[in-house]
């Protein structure tokens, strides 16, 4: 592997979720997190999973990441079954989950060091490339506690892009950020996705966020976790979260969510 091939984007892969079920015990009772969920995600598609807490959307993300095992069904990435975590599928969590004992550059290098075939200087070059991409090239020597919430998530994004995955899994990555920082991320994430095409699975509560980012929005209902409806979003890119067209689409999806009486309370406007 050379630096040139490393910096070339890996081809995004197709994800295929087939009849997946998952139960676990939490707080002394059985939770039926996913019940016979099937979903086809195309190469390079940006898909948003939306639903209230407990609907299994994060569980599905963790199963695709290989961090949790499904009880039934199968999940394939590019045709191969998922058996555990892999660098072809990187995860970005709601908390940045950066390592405080490492500086920004070393945080991004953590995953790269586990990738065979690159020399130390090549790894640093790759890490710096992605830190520049998220606009943090001047903060390589900073420690995590010195960064704002938004900057931490930028580092986390660079860290998950650096090993050049085919799939990017994002679990409410912007939920803890303030509105202005979040809006900036919507633009940046769309741009990065356009330039470095990855298959993105994005979990969120926020319907507008889902409409702003996704090619497709998948609605989940809880108890048991199932897919209730899907929406194709045809708005032209790059989308602005504050645009009227977007608000109209979001309203339609919110109405669909509210149509399910379980959700009416959570999504009341």
């Amino acid at each position: 592997m050379t630096l040139q091939t490393e910096l070339q984007d890996a081809a995004p892969s197709k994800l295929s979720v087939q009849h997946v079920s998952k139960r676990f015990r939490a707080g002394g009772r059985d939770v039926h997190a996913l019940d016979d969920v099937s979903l086809e995600i195309g190469e390079g598609e940006f898909i948003c999973l939306v639903g209230p807490s407990g609907c299994g959307k994060s569980t599905l993300l963790n199963i695709i990441a290989g961090l949790e095992k499904n009880d039934d069904g199968s999940v394939l990435t590019g045709g191969t079954p998922i058996t555990g975590p892999g660098r072809d599928r990187m995860v970005m969590f709601q908390e940045a989950a950066l390592f405080p004992w490492l500086d920004v550059l070393d945080n991004v290098l953590f995953g790269l060091k586990l990738k065979p075939g690159l020399s130390r200087s090549e790894r640093v070059e790759v890490a710096q490339f992605y830190l520049k991409l998220v606009g943090l090239e001047k903060f390589t020597k900073a420690y995590v506690h010195e960064l704002s919430g938004g900057m931490k998530q930028r580092v986390a994004l660079a860290r998950s892009l650096a090993p050049n995955p085919r799939v990017l899994l994002m679990d409410e990555p912007f939920a803890a950020l303030d509105a202005l920082t979040r809006e900036q991320f919507y633009g940046d994430l769309q741009q990065i996705w356009e330039q470095h095409r990855k298959t993105i699975v994005f979990v969120t509560h926020n319907v507008r966020e889902a409409v702003c980012l996704g090619d497709r929005v998948v609605l989940f209902t809880p108890h048991p976790g199932r897919i209730s409806e899907q929406f194709k979003i045809t708005l032209t890119r790059r989308r602005d979260i504050n645009s009227l067209d977007l608000a109209r689409d979001a309203l339609e999806i919110t109405a669909a969510l509210k149509g399910n009486r379980n959700l009416a309370a959570e999504y009341a406007i």
Binding site: P85, R87, A97, F99, W101, L114, K115
Partner: protein, 256 residues
Amino acid sequence: MSLKRLLQILGFFLLVFVIWEALFLARIWSPVLVPSPLSVGRYLYEAIMDGTLWAATIVTMRRLLLGYLFGIALGLPIGLLTARFRFLSDTVGLLALGLQTLPSVCWVPLALLWFGQTETAMFFVVVMGTLWSMIIATDSGVRNVPPIYARAAQTMGSSGFHVWLRVMLPASLPFVVSGMKQGWAFAWRSLMAAEIYVTILSGFGLGNLLHYGRELNAMEQVIGIMFVIIVIGLLADKILFSPWERLLHRRWGTVK
């Protein structure tokens, strides 16, 4: 530090010194019980010049560092193991918790019976002072690592031993350092107690000098050695732990 603060500090200690000297001059108590600060200074000067103080310090520090480093080196992996395996936590972990509450000077009688009046007995006491705190601190350090660190590392291709070495161990560093500090305090105290309590012919430490000061009714020696013990304690804190605490402060943003 501003000049004003420096002067305040110097002024305070000068005042302590003056009060002490005044009490000595007032002759309320016998000079055998309250010696002049000047005679303490003279004792220290002589002990430094004839080499006894230096030799005793070397003996004490060698005992302390050998036992302490061994205790750390043993306690760290055991703590990692008790945090990892339920069985070890229920057994060794519980034992460590129990033995940590035992003041480490209580090991001295047992050490003497087992090893006699030897360096091994001293080594044993210092190790017992360090080991249990280190096990418990490392154990709770690992348990306090946010689970998301290990999950994030796994998605980046880390697994098994690599997760422990590169994630769990550095992540629990704040706890490990406080365990090292506590272990040091316990080891230092128990070593002093042991040295006062038993004479070991292979080397006279600071505790021995303190003990002989009492036997000879040489109060200036007792106070002088106490002073040296305080200084070593302060220096150890600066030399051994300040670098770690600076590192924690810089990376974790913890309070200095």
